[in-house]
């Protein structure tokens, strides 16, 4: 949501986020290097970098994957989601360091092209202990690369939000590849049980948070509403909505966000035009509905972004009968002005 594009839409919060992130990464490098030199005095710098980058990227990938479900479960994690793009690109850069150093160390010393060597030097696909795990890591790195280079609003708009989202959902394929890459690679040499416990615990954490947040979301979607008259459905009481806050409802396959503000109630489509964020979980800020994911704004009565921005949402007719909110789930064309239902005091 900008007048024109910049390389990075820096603000104070983002700068602080990236500063903390990279200070953490560097601090981990120092502690890890000290421990490695202490435990393995003969370790080479290349091996140290390969190990550090592997562990750092692995931890960051887990953090990235749990941010989404954590935000569905609790609003307080939303600042992490707002800046997840920086986390993702940082993770890719560190994973790329791992890939480059690993390729140089294990595949660049022969007379075969290093990339060809990754795919052909080991073809024991039926042996777990000697599986060509580097191919799995290579494929995951390609996915991370595609995600990193398309992590800009220009790509979200020009590849279309649907395609962009689908491509970025490949992170789960990449995660599966990384789990197998670690299980068939490093854990075949580092056989201590603690490494397996960490790998499985990380996977269970990611999986369980996704399941729990999915169950919560499904409960919201499954709720059925009784049709009353003229196509309007009773969705909730006024008291169910906090002032300047929203509520998501799902009626006749329409995903709708209802907001109460300034003595009025309005309804717009619940899917943000930016990254398909849940508008209904946002708030009214500066008289505009504000998406909780990245702060995209829309005016509640017409679903239009405030000028000069051009994003538009569908709007819906809303009625108030006593203290009950009624919504007609037939969407009006994006940006259509719908008079808000006024709350009688």
């Amino acid at each position: 949501m900008s007048l024109n594009y910049t390389a990075v839409g820096w603000n104070k919060q983002k700068k602080q986020y990236v500063k903390i992130l990279w200070l953490g990464i560097l601090a981990f490098l120092i502690v890890f290097a000290a421990l490695q030199f202490l435990l393995h005095p003969n370790i080479s710098v290349e091996t140290l970098i390969i190990r550090w980058s592997a562990i750092t990227a692995f931890i960051l990938l887990h953090i990235i994957l749990v941010i989404g479900p954590l935000c569905r479960l609790n609003d307080r994690y939303l600042p992490l989601l707002y800046n997840r793009r920086h986390l993702g690109v940082s993770m890719f850069l560190i994973a790329a360091i791992h890939g480059v150093f690993g390729t140089i160390q294990f595949h660049a010393l022969g007379d075969v092209n290093p990339i060809v060597s990754i795919f052909t030097s080991n073809q024991n696909y039926l042996e777990i202990s000697n599986f060509p795990f580097q191919i799995l890591g290579f494929c995951a790195l390609i996915i991370f690369f595609l995600m990193a280079i398309s992590s800009h609003d220009f790509w979200l708009k020009n590849l279309s939000p649907k395609f962009w989202k689908a491509m970025h959902m490949l992170v789960y394929v990449a995660y599966g590849l990384i789990i197998l890459h670690v299980a068939t690679g490093a854990l075949q040499y580092e056989t201590h049980l603690i490494y397996w416990i960490i790998l499985i615990a990380g996977f269970l954490l990611v999986a369980s948070l996704h399941i729990v947040s999915g169950i919560k979301e499904r409960g919201n979607l499954r709720k059925t509403y009784q049709l009353q008259e003229e196509g309007f459905y009773e969705v909730c009481s006024l008291s169910d909505l906090e002032e300047n806050c929203g509520k998501s409802v799902f009626i006749n396959a329409e995903n709708i966000a209802i907001f109460k503000y300034n003595g009025k109630v309005s309804a717009v489509n619940n899917i943000c035009k930016h990254q398909m964020g849940p508008i209904g979980e946002g708030k009214i800020i500066d008289d505009c509905i504000t998406c909780p994911w990245h702060g995209y704004q829309y005016m509640p009565e017409n679903g239009q972004s405030p000028p000069p921005f051009k994003e538009e949402l569908s709007t819906y007719n809303v009625r108030l009968l006593k203290d009950k909110i009624w919504v007609n789930p037939s969407p009006l064309p994006e940006g259509t002005l719908v008079k808000a239902a006024k709350i009688d005091i």
Partner: protein, 67 residues
């Protein structure tokens, strides 16, 4: 196997070289037609989307042809 991988690498390289050639024309004439928000955008922006232009060039070419 080795030959197949080698051919795949050459095909990928060819695709990326086409992407680089495309980017020259795209930055000169196409980018502002494809997305008017890029008018007046910074050099940093153009640099940061460059790897994407080289990789996703068929999408951009399709959009450019449609304008």
């Amino acid at each position: 196997m080795e030959q197949i991988i080698q051919i795949a690498i050459y095909l990928d390289l060819g695709y990326l070289i086409l992407g680089i050639v495309f980017s020259i024309f795209f930055y000169r004439k196409g980018i502002e037609k494809v997305d008017e928000v890029t008018i007046g955008s910074t050099r940093g922006f153009k640099l940061i989307v460059f790897p994407g232009v080289v990789v996703f060039w068929p999408f951009l070419l399709y959009k450019w042809m449609k304008t």
